[in-house]
Assembly symmetry: C2
Homo-oligomer: 297 residues x 2
């Protein structure tokens, strides 16, 4: 089934657009995983610890959110052993009925782009359901990803307007702003991948930190699922993401709101709790806050 439709069915089941980022930042891991940041420990052992931490987090969130978003960078930091942990985390998430959005921000030209798309979206041990993609190289470099999405029922989220402080320097350049050009390109490409849900499998990354712009971007891209980073640790709250959502009947439809550190490392602000319990409570809170803001009952 088309990725957009699979995502729609999965969010319908959990009735929340919450997405949990799996960013195993070595410096933030609980003490029991301290060896993961010790350069004297062999990489394979460090990667195993990271994997175990992520598995625990997956157990906490399974059944409560539609999807998780593992961040490739923190796995790649441990080299090929880390990449194996990434693969294992993706496989474990899928076995727990979580959709996997690989946050890999890849992008390249022609057959090289195809190789990246196949790496992450084609059948195999390291398969994701969707990936994030960077558009700087041009619309023709998004096509190989879209082709693999079409064949494999995969999805992609193109970087559009990001949550970091300097995100506007290039993304707002020109008149119309660059992001509008990128929006046009991803919308054209996504037309062929619109599912029964009315959404396309080609989505956009739109920072939750730009609440005012979010409404403009939603109006420009009515059929595009959004991936909304910036919630929690980066400063955005539940009210900030409201403009991304527009279905009164199913108010969770239209986007995924990502929190990474706010869930995985909640124990750092809640030292009375075990890290798993702290993550669980933080996720409860996020789901409740989103439900209140979006009027989900």
């Amino acid at each position: 089934m088309n990725f957009a439709d699979r995502l729609d069915a999965a969010t319908e089941r959990v009735r929340t657009p919450a997405l949990v980022g799996i960013d195993p930042h070595l410096d933030l891991l609980p003490d029991e995983y301290a060896a993961a940041r010790d350069p004297r420990v062999p990489l394979a052992e460090r990667a195993e610890l990271v994997e175990r931490f992520c598995f625990e987090l997956l157990d906490v969130v399974a059944g409560r959110v539609a999807a998780v978003k593992p961040q490739s960078a923190f796995f790649e930091l441990l080299g090929s052993d880390g990449v194996r942990a990434f693969e294992n985390v993706c496989a474990r998430a899928r076995s727990l009925d979580l959709l996997v959005i690989g946050d890999v921000k890849r992008g390249d030209i022609a057959s090289t782009a195809s190789a990246y798309a196949e790496s992450f979206l084609a059948s195999g041990e390291h398969r994701c359901d969707a990936v994030t993609v960077s558009p700087y190289l041009g619309p023709d470099t998004l096509e190989p990803f879209a082709n693999v999405c079409a064949r494999e029922d995969g999805g992609m989220y193109v970087l559009l307007r990001t949550s970091n402080p300097g995100g506007g320097a290039f993304q707002l350049h020109g008149t119309p702003a660059l992001w509008e050009e990128v929006a046009g390109a991803l919308e054209r490409l996504g037309t062929d991948l619109i599912g029964n849900s009315g959404f396309s499998s080609i989505g956009a990354v739109v920072g939750a930190t730009h609440a005012a712009e979010l409404a403009t971007i939603r109006a420009r891209l009515p059929k595009t699922p959004f991936l909304l980073p910036g919630y929690g640790a980066q400063g955005a709250g539940a009210d900030d993401v409201k403009p991304a959502f527009c279905d009164a009947e199913s108010p969770w439809r239209g986007g995924l709101v990502n929190s990474s550190r706010g869930i995985a490392f909640a124990w750092r602000k809640d030292s009375a709790s075990h890290p798993k319990d702290a993550a669980s409570k933080a996720l409860d809170r996020m789901i409740a806050d989103l439900a209140a803001a979006l009027d989900i009952r």
Copy 2:
């Protein structure tokens, strides 16, 4: 030593700006490596074959060029086993005194960008001398890479104006064109990393397929080393890259001209030769053509 200076010394030794791309495209491998593209063969075995093919290519080019550019995508296609092959190829290249430019086109925000920079540029088994980086997320997302470059004597090449047909869609957007904004950002960031050679360790990727623009871009960025893809298979010739070079005394200075398929897969157009011999002859030809165009004696 500063990356720009190491690169300068290495090109001085070989007296050519030729750069060999290591893109082990499975479909193009010689018959003796056919099992590498067979999905029934375990990934570890397929990755070993790819590694062996790359090692042979490194033997051909060592001592004749300053650097090689392994393309991560074709290794990642084989999952973590492929990434291990990438690490081994980087290590082998460095042991042969070749500088390694990891063509990874990574980019992300804040601590995630730092994780990518550390992955490829910090000490460890999988270390490169420089990497390619994508700028769409904004100038603040290039800083973590620059910081690691400064600490580790590494280099980075920021995507500026690429060689693919659709490269202009976003890169030429606005007035001034987006690439000029990116150029300004990488130039500012590179000021602190200018070495004794007069060049910065922060370079730019500029397609060799845009000969007319190349002169403009060189004038705009006099101290930026260029990485010039598009030579050979993508259609650019030795005369097209001339505007990147501007030192009459040392005419090889200013950029690296990359050929990937034109060297690695030269045997496909020269079936009388063994693949290694065909690659060697193709590299001879490229070096001679560049020498003629740039007046290297």
